[in-house]
């Protein structure tokens, strides 16, 4: 598959949040305002693209040569945890306000199934190093797109009249569901039309 094919696949057709339903925790938790949502999106994008590349290296240079592929999950999580820790330090140093806004969701990227998901999917699809990186980047951008759309909608919703029992998280769930329905329009046929 070409790189463009990979990008379209992971941003639209297999959007991690709206189609595969991975990584929903920050999608609801940090989408209350655009600024922190974008920060979260870029943090996840960074972790996902680096994690996809690093786990590719682990898979091909450690696990396969030593015939210990059963350690996939634990080594991948180890790698992701270290990356997240690094991102956390970096954000705390460079932007304390963003660090504050992301709060508990930042260390929780470690257990974000979207990150482990892209690592496992890239390995299963037998991508090479660059393809893995591009897949991670595209999946991260897909996450960014979804959380950005969600946060702009939620900022508008704050100003709208919403029935009291639905205010806050419930209306966000409904919104997310409708967005997921909309993303069903992106399917394999679209990919074939675009790049043959």
């Amino acid at each position: 598959m070409t790189y463009i094919g990979i990008i379209i696949t992971f941003v639209f057709i297999n959007n991690f949040i709206l189609t595969q339903f991975l990584g929903l925790c920050p999608f609801i938790g940090v989408s209350k305002n655009v600024e922190s949502a974008v920060g979260m999106g870029f943090a996840v994008t960074f972790v996902m693209s680096i994690a996809a590349l690093a786990t590719w290296a682990i898979q091909n240079f450690i696990l396969i040569p030593l015939n210990i592929e059963f350690l996939q999950t634990i080594t991948f999580i180890l790698m992701i945890a270290a990356l997240v820790q690094f991102v956390e330090m970096f954000i705390q140093k460079s932007s304390p306000s963003l660090y504050k806004a992301l709060g508990i969701y930042l260390p929780l990227i470690t257990t974000n199934c979207a990150v482990l998901g892209i690592a496992l999917i890239a390995v299963r699809s037998e991508y090479n190093a660059i393809e893995s990186f591009v897949a991670g980047l595209a999946a991260g951008l897909g996450f960014l797109l979804a959380i950005l759309l969600m946060s702009t909608i939620r900022e508008k919703l704050d100003a709208e009249w919403v029935p009291r029992p639905l205010r806050g998280t419930p209306i966000a769930f409904i919104t997310g569901g409708l967005m997921a329905l909309a993303f069903m329009a992106f399917d394999k046929a679209l990919l074939n039309n675009l790049i043959g």
Partner: protein, 269 residues
């Protein structure tokens, strides 16, 4: 087989070790200086993360105090004691005379005392019921009794009594205000910890209307104002309220109230 175990052990160990070293190095580069007082203040705070101060949890408030000069008296669960100790850490004088406030349900209406509009069989949640014609009680201002406040109370201070109304234990209440926010009728109000009596009614309807739908509702007869002039009673919008700054006796009013809605809290049941 043995080699595989060894490889597994060594590779995970080496990977972990390397990443650990890299992180330790990164931690040195990206070290952020933190004010030591933040930790000290956080240690003094109760640590129940109720959010009454308006900050996200106790650590957020501790940071707010140290870095943004937030008021140090905002922690209502901790009260004067905690405020005093924070004052020591921050080197500030604190006015410790503020009295602790507690929440109380200002309604004692039950299914026996009040008339019902309809039979509710929906979700057992006050806000859900309130969307259907303001609840099943004819009275639109009273306690709906499904206990949404019980669910949000972080310290389990609210109980449903055997008589069917809700009561708040003032010893447990930390005045976080969560029940006030969740209650759709606004029947939960703050009173001073030392308050001995409340007007257990929230209805601002005229006396005749209240009498039709509730036998323990305030009808605005002003008997309390007359009988206990020193007690701080005031009737407005057909509903009596108490000014707790008034020091006078309120026993007479409790005695004469025709609807028996002015009650002594310790003998409420």
């Amino acid at each position: 087989m043995v080699y595989r175990v060894l490889y597994a052990f060594l590779s995970v160990g080496a990977l972990g070790g390397l990443l650990g070293l890299a992180l330790a190095y990164a931690a040195k580069i990206f070290a952020v200086k933190k004010d030591k007082r933040i930790e000290e203040v956080e240690g003094v705070l109760p640590g129940i993360n109720c959010g009454a101060c308006g900050y996200p949890g106790c650590s957020g408030y501790a940071e707010g105090i140290v870095t943004e000069d937030a008021e140090i008296t905002l922690c209502s669960p901790g009260g004067a004691d905690v405020a005093g100790r924070i004052g020591e850490i921050m080197g500030q004088e604190v006015d410790l005379s503020i009295e602790k406030m507690v929440a109380q349900v200002h309604c004692r209406g039950t299914k026996e005392t009040s008339t019902m509009k309809y039979k509710y069989e929906g979700i057992q949640d006050c806000n859900a019921m309130h969307t259907s014609f303001g609840g099943d009680k004819t009275c639109p201002h009273g306690c709906l009794g499904l206990g949404s406040c019980i669910k949000v109370c972080p310290v389990d201070a609210i109980v449903k009594t055997e008589y069917g109304y809700l009561d708040i234990d003032k010893e447990k209440c930390i005045a976080c205000g969560k029940c006030l926010d969740v209650c759709p009728t606004g029947v939960i109000k703050m009173i001073p910890y030392s308050a001995e009596q409340i007007v257990a009614c929230n209805s601002i309807d005229k006396g005749g209307a209240v009498r039709k739908y509730c036998s323990v509702g305030c009808i605005g007869c002003k008997m309390c104002e007359k009988k206990s002039p020193e007690g701080g009673f005031k009737v407005e919008n057909f509903l009596a309220s108490i000014d707790y700054n008034a020091e006078g006796s309120r026993a007479e009013a409790v005695e004469v109230c025709p609807a028996k809605c002015i009650i002594d809290l310790d003998v409420a049941d």
